[in-house]
Symmetry: C2
Subunit: 247 residues, 2 copies
DNA sequence: AATATAGGTGTACGCCGTACACCTGTCAAG
DNA sequence: CTTGACAGGTGTACGGCGTACACCTATATT
């Protein structure tokens, strides 16, 4: 009877249950805590049990990525390509912000997962439906790069670390240590300006969302201009980029 | 005398020698082969000997990154900002192509190394000298993102793998397997067009260098336009991106 | 000649992914 | 009702990892 109770107490393992637990573990404790052993423990099971449902850790990661990418909103029908793409990317961004480990996990694997391929495919579809040539759609996808997936890796990030460890971000502005400010005056200047973000006249400090949209719109506007002027890949001057290297 | 010979035969360890050997190992055998044990073996030394010169593996990585970033050409004096930035970035790209493990290594650490900071600082300096406001320079740096360091991570990459393993890239065009082409028609369409790269009229296929410059120039041209029209951060409509979300 | 110090060595610990043999409960066929 | 296959959880073990810590040994200094 104790045995029956125990048997009933935990739902039997399944690939889906494993993937969800893995995502939760990575979200909560950071990707570096995601080991087969830790994951098994969270599921009340012995490590090798997982291998009855996933081939190996790499396949586990792949499944996790697909789960996450599947959270991105489907395309909005009946909008022009620009707003359609914009909304989709912002949705992707929201999703990947819930799973801070995902950008690195995605970047570090060498082949796209099915869910990513499907996402990319539908975005290309949006461009094509908006009148883009195959070529322009191709180059545009490259140009948007990882921003298409809602992330632009920041070089000095500080957020991508572990999951909730008590307080979320209790750092005071942390003006850079003076010896660093001296060595890198321009970096310091920007950091200084950005830390005056008491909604001063010139800015929202270093507001991630703002920076993201700034770059995305810069690209989208440039793309729109190319498309409106009927861009084709100007076979004549192939050594220079076709994005109207104007000067 | 055998002892003397042995003592003389190998230069004594040094931080620099270790870092260079580590870079060589990562270049040649892939970053996943870079273990303290392998590295020590390459140097004819016992693993723990390394720890007399580097604190731990993380610091080793940091040193490797700084070594690599130090290979980037210094800024060209007496050019306008646009060409100055362009050249510097193309130099960075060349460097990082020699060290395919570096982009991921850079992205996966959470704090910038001194050499990276110094590189970023001098690039901000170029923008400032070109008449950019602190704010605009700030946003522009974010917008360029990792392209500033010469890489834009490709989602389906295939190159970032191991180092030279005999033949470099003997793959025939590898038209995607038909069941994938069926599921992702737009991806297939692009892949199809790109594989007709027998210098057909519309393109150089999927030429990495072309894609990189295309995106870079798209950004640089958009930035130039912002700067010429005296961009300021339009405090009025803060919920929308300042990169003239025009429509 | 005595001693401090820098730098290479050897052993050992705890973590990791996972191969492989094993057990056990369920369910279909005889 | 028995039997046997099979799906799925278990236990043990192996090789690799980063690295703590005690040790040895040349060289340099007093």
């Amino acid at each position: 009877m104790a045995e029956q109770a125990e048997t009933l107490r935990r739902t039997p393992l399944s690939r889906d249950r494993i993937l969800r637990a893995a995502v939760a573990l990575a979200d909560g404790a950071g990707i570096e805590s995601l080991s087969m052993r830790n994951l098994a423990q969270d599921l009340g099971v012995v490590p090798m049990a997982l291998y009855k449902h996933v081939a190996n850790k790499d396949e586990l990661l792949e499944g996790m990525i697909d789960l996450v990418v599947g959270e991105i909103d489907p395309p909005t029908p009946d909008t022009d390509w620009k707003h359609g793409v914009r909304q989709r990317i912002l949705s992707a961004r929201q999703v990947l912000q819930r799973h801070p480990w995902a950008p690195l996990a995605i970047e570090s694997r060498n082949m796209a997962t099915p869910a990513i391929l499907s996402y990319l495919d539908s975005m290309i579809g949006t461009f094509r439906a908006g009148g883009f040539s195959v070529d322009l759609a191709h180059h545009v996808m490259h140009a948007m790069g990882s921003r298409i997936l809602g992330f632009s890796q920041e070089l000095f990030d500080a957020s991508r670390r572990a999951g909730r460890s008590g307080t979320t971000n209790p750092d005071p502005p942390t003006a850079l240590p003076p010896e660093i400010a001296a060595r890198f005056p321009h970096v310091a200047e920007i950091a200084m300006a950005a830390s005056h973000d008491d909604t001063s006249v010139l800015g929202q400090g270093c507001d991630d969302q703002f920076e993201f949209e700034f770059a995305m719109d810069l690209l989208l506007n440039g793309i729109e201009r190319l498309q409106q002027q009927g861009w084709t890949s100007s076979p004549g001057r192939r050594e220079t980029s076709a994005a109207s290297h104007d000067a």
